[in-house]
């Protein structure tokens, strides 16, 4: 019973990590935040683009060195570079 539960849990975790195809994220031209919606979750702008590269996920913006280097002050998912 315990083994069965363990196996089911493992399968559930594995399934969560397996998502086929890249989600169509778009980057905000103002703050570089990535979103799969129509509005930027950080600044609320509608100026989004599909031309971006690199991803940075900031979990703790106060302690993160990457956030400090890139000048990011809010947690979230950002593009490294917005191309156009």
């Amino acid at each position: 019973m315990r083994e069965k539960r363990k196996r089911r849990r493992r399968r559930r975790i594995r399934a969560a990590g397996r998502v086929d195809g890249m989600p169509k994220f778009r980057a905000c031209r103002q703050c570089k935040a990535l979103t799969d919606g129509d509005i930027c979750p950080i600044c609320g702008s509608k100026d989004l683009t599909v031309h971006w590269e690199g991803i940075v996920v900031i979990i703790d913006p106060i302690r993160s060195q990457v956030a400090e280097y890139l000048g990011i002050k809010r947690a979230g998912m950002y593009a490294l570079r917005v191309l156009g």
Partner: protein
């Protein structure tokens, strides 16, 4: 203030970085593991860097995910990651008539004269006339691929 954070490498399938990063972000927020950030650089497909003080936190984050594996290699320092992070290129003032040297691409080493400057989806593109050829040869090149040798305003 000295920060002891290091970057631990996570191996993921190439092309699945965005999905896995989104999943790891949700997991880190809900479980409260001490991971500060995750970085994916396009030059290094299939690898994610996790910023944390201890490898234990990162291994706890990826535990149970079959597609993400924490590599047992030595952690990377911020100085090495800094080189990979691309900051926006500094805006160089290039004008029509400037002589530039091509520093990247097929025409590397050649000199050219700027004929026009256009804006495209991928950024600023220059239309250049190669110097030193018998006939005029027009090429298109991104602004990052050239370096100003002689400014038009200096000449006049």
């Amino acid at each position: 203030m000295e920060r002891p954070f290091l970057f631990f490498t996570i191996k993921v399938p190439s092309g699945q970085e965005a999905n896995i990063m989104r999943f790891l972000k949700a997991r880190a927020e809900s479980s409260g593991v001490q991971v500060m950030s995750l970085v994916f650089v396009p030059k290094m497909r299939g690898y994610i860097f996790a910023e944390s003080a201890r490898s234990y936190d990162v291994s706890k984050l990826v535990r149970g995910i079959s597609r993400a594996k924490l590599l047992p290699a030595d952690p990377v320092t911020f100085q090495e990651i800094e080189n990979l992070l691309m900051k926006e290129p500094e805006k160089v003032s290039i004008e029509v008539g400037d002589v530039v040297r091509i520093i990247k691409g097929n025409f590397k080493g050649y000199q050219a004269k700027v004929a026009a400057i256009t804006e495209s989806e991928k950024g600023t593109v220059l239309i250049l006339n190669l110097v030193g050829f018998g006939k005029s040869w027009e090429i298109k090149m991104p602004v990052e691929y050239v370096k100003v040798v002689e400014s038009h305003s200096e000449e006049s």
